[in-house]
């Protein structure tokens, strides 16, 4: 067995063409392919990161934009630790669909799952959704918020590292001790994230103590 302290499942959802696969490839392979074929069904990538000296394995499930939970991937949402909901800041319809996605999440995902709203493609100069609108939407729905660019590698590392840090934090808080191991992972996902997010004045803020994202 590989040596890692935590394993987290992260699932990406959002409309087709918002850049889910590109975010994942940028993070796991450091690539931004000029063209990326549509994801069919679901894709799967793995990356091990280090946070506070602990090895964390991230299992990233990248879903097809056209796929709805019911059809295929339901079981993956159920066991997900974090859900990244992605829209394209240069495409209003992808933002308009967010309530639909949230409804699906509510129905099929663990209610305590860590939810992150991501506005992708900040490199585009034809922005249609102002940052503030995204932030407010996230705040309303108890989600973290971040704007990224897979193309420019902006905030991509940060996104995943902060998710990892937050999940570790949840796990430790739940456990009441820092000696959390793989066996007590059932603790994760039950943290009191909801209240925490709404107290947070800045929606885009993850835990301030997790600055590992620069590595």
């Amino acid at each position: 067995m590989e040596d890692y302290k935590f394993l987290f499942k992260i699932v990406l959802v959002g409309n087709a063409g918002v850049g889910k696969t590109c975010l994942v490839r940028r993070f796991t392979q450091g690539l931004f392919p000029p063209g990326q074929g549509a994801t069919i069904g679901v894709d799967f990538m793995i990356k091990t990161v280090e946070v506070d000296g602990d090895k964390i394995k991230l299992q990233i499930w990248d879903t097809a934009g056209q796929e709805r939970f019911r059809s295929i991937t339901q079981s993956y949402y159920r066991s997900a630790h974090a859900l990244i909901l992605v829209y394209d800041i240069s495409c209003q319809p992808t933002f308009d669909c967010l309530p639909d996605w949230l409804r699906e999440i509510q129905e099929y995902a663990n209610c305590k799952v860590l939810k992150i709203l991501v506005g992708n493609k900040t490199d585009r100069d034809d922005r249609e959704i102002p940052t503030q609108i995204g932030e407010e939407f996230a705040k309303q729905h108890d989600m973290y918020f971040l704007e990224t660019s897979a193309k420019e590698a902006e905030n991509v590392e940060r996104l995943f590292y902060e998710i990892a840090a937050e999940l570790i934090d949840q796990a430790r808080r739940k456990d009441g001790t820092s000696a959390v191991n793989k066996n007590s992972m059932d603790a994760i996902g039950l943290g009191s994230l909801g209240t925490k997010a709404s107290q947070n004045s800045c929606c885009s803020g993850f835990n301030s103590n997790s600055n590992q994202c620069t590595s």
């Binding site: 549509a38 894709d43 994760i188």
Partner: protein, 691 residues
Amino acid sequence: MTARGIEAIKLNTQTKVSKLSADVKVETQQCNTIEILNDKDTKTTTMSPIERYRFEWQELLKILDEQPGRIREYGFEGHLKTSKFRSIYWSVMLRVLNEDYRNWKLQRAQQRQRYKRLKKDFVKNPHELGDLNTNDNPLSQSSQSIWNQYFNNQELFAIIGQDVVRTFPGVDFFRKSPIQNAMCNILFYYAREHPYMSYRQGMHEILAPIIFVMYGDHQSLLHFKEVTDAEVIDTILANVLDPDYLEADCYFIFSRVMASIESYYRVNNVLSSEWNLKTNGLMTKDNAESTDEATESGVIAHLNSIRDKILAKEDLHLHNYLLKLDIPLHIFGIRWLRLLFGREFTLLDLLALWDAIFADSDRFDLPNYIVVAMLIRIRDKCKYQMDIILLSDYTTCLTYLMRYPSNVDVGLILRHALHMQMPKKYDRPANAFVYFTMPSRRQGMHSAAMTKMSGPSQHKKGERDQNAHSMSGGKDTSLDLEKEVTLLQVRNAADAALLARLKPAANEESHVIMDGYAKNNPDLERLELKNAQTVITVARNKLQTYLHTIRRYITKPNSTEVMNALDGIEELCQYLDVKFMFPLHSCSAPIDQALEANEQQQREEKRKTNKPPLVYARCDHSTEKANQIVGTSAQATYEKPDNGFMLQSSRILGHLKEIELLTIASSEKTRNPVNEINNGLPAVDPLTLKD
């Protein structure tokens, strides 16, 4: 992932599609997968490209006249790889065109007319229509509203366009706007003509190879036209491959392919399951009963039935292992099926695979077997280093499945799939993994029967002939055995399925999260152990079968080396006949002392005589008579030891559920002893003989 397909196309498109005809050599080099170029083909290699083109066309017509069924054989056997008329072969195989080529012009004319009508029916621009219904306006939500429809169309076009522009990214052919426009149109009309399907991601990659092939054929014809007199060109050919109708002609091939695979795309739960049941006949009542599976989409049920019906039969170990790791086939299988393996192989390999799929039948059964052959292939590929799938963990296993290795021989996969589907017609490829299937019947040898033939006495020629005789005469035996094996396979599959069903239930309580599978789960480990034991048993049986076959043909080994090698194999067989210890029993379920049948008796016997039985006496040179004596005396004293583990294994699931697990080994005792070959000694555990 897409890169492979892309690179393959790049190879092809670098030298402009219009010059395809000059690239035969390149293509044949790349397509070293399926051999066979028959006489006609070798004849063609001496021709100029132009002569070859004309010859190929005439051949096609001739075959259609004389024995149209041959066309399908061509598809199966890889003859279409260098064909300049692949789109026509496909059209005929898919029944887009008749086998009677004299009707082609008419058929094409009708189809093109119909396509033109689709255009007219589905694209109505309210800006250009003067006589709109007075109730109709741009804000209307009525389904009858032309305005409403107009906006819906715009939306649909945008969705399709989004995928089409990223079809095989990096391949120039698909970056051309005429090609992209044609693809968008085809997908749009398809979606409108089949509103229950609409457009779903992946369809564009079914269309892409079709348009690629059709375009290539058109270019070949144009090239041919350039260098020959216009009069020489067959009017049928000119009509059927008219570049002006690329879109329309592709549309009908595409629609036909989609008709066969639409269940993979449908998400409508109940409907598609039923449809699946009807079309594929693969679903069972068991499947339909389970509420879980009733609500899932057709493609998942379909993949599950592939797993339980084909994979379990072909490679039970792999089947169980995937269950154990909790990797359902649909994680990767949905993409495999929806794209008909488009991202798993290079384009040239893919086209060869499609040749066979289209040649098979309208129901597209072959892909089911291809899925299984692909799975078995990558477990087999590294057999000599390490079983990639079987021995690796969840992550590695899944990574391989999600990114199918690129160096897999598609020809072998195809032949294995064809063998599974039509065992009588196609032999199992020699180096394909053989796990749990019996050797084909005509070999007359059956592994399980061979377990008894451990006696070195087989060296005696007379004895051997007698064996051979009794084997070939014992067809009933072999049939029984096959039945038995099937029964066992089914049981094992049922056990595995039950385990799989139990597992999530057990996990749900204690783990919100799990890493694919619960490590150290004793039930699963037992299952795995059981599989290992099955492997050992089967390996031993197979070894013995092969040994016997070799001995039959080498009647007089001319060197001691061969003799020694054969003896060595035999010795291995003896080693493999191990008594399975089952250490895990001590962990949970209380276990009675596991005595083998007759074990007590044997021990006492041994203690009394205090000498090893004559099994290991080198009776190679002893007389037949002596062998018989030994044989009969041993037969009287011993019975085949039953497997201790197998008898105790009904408790395998501890408190969860009692499941009776059987393997071949445990079933041997149930076989009618009359059928056993009393040529030597029964298989005896070498370990017990030592004391």
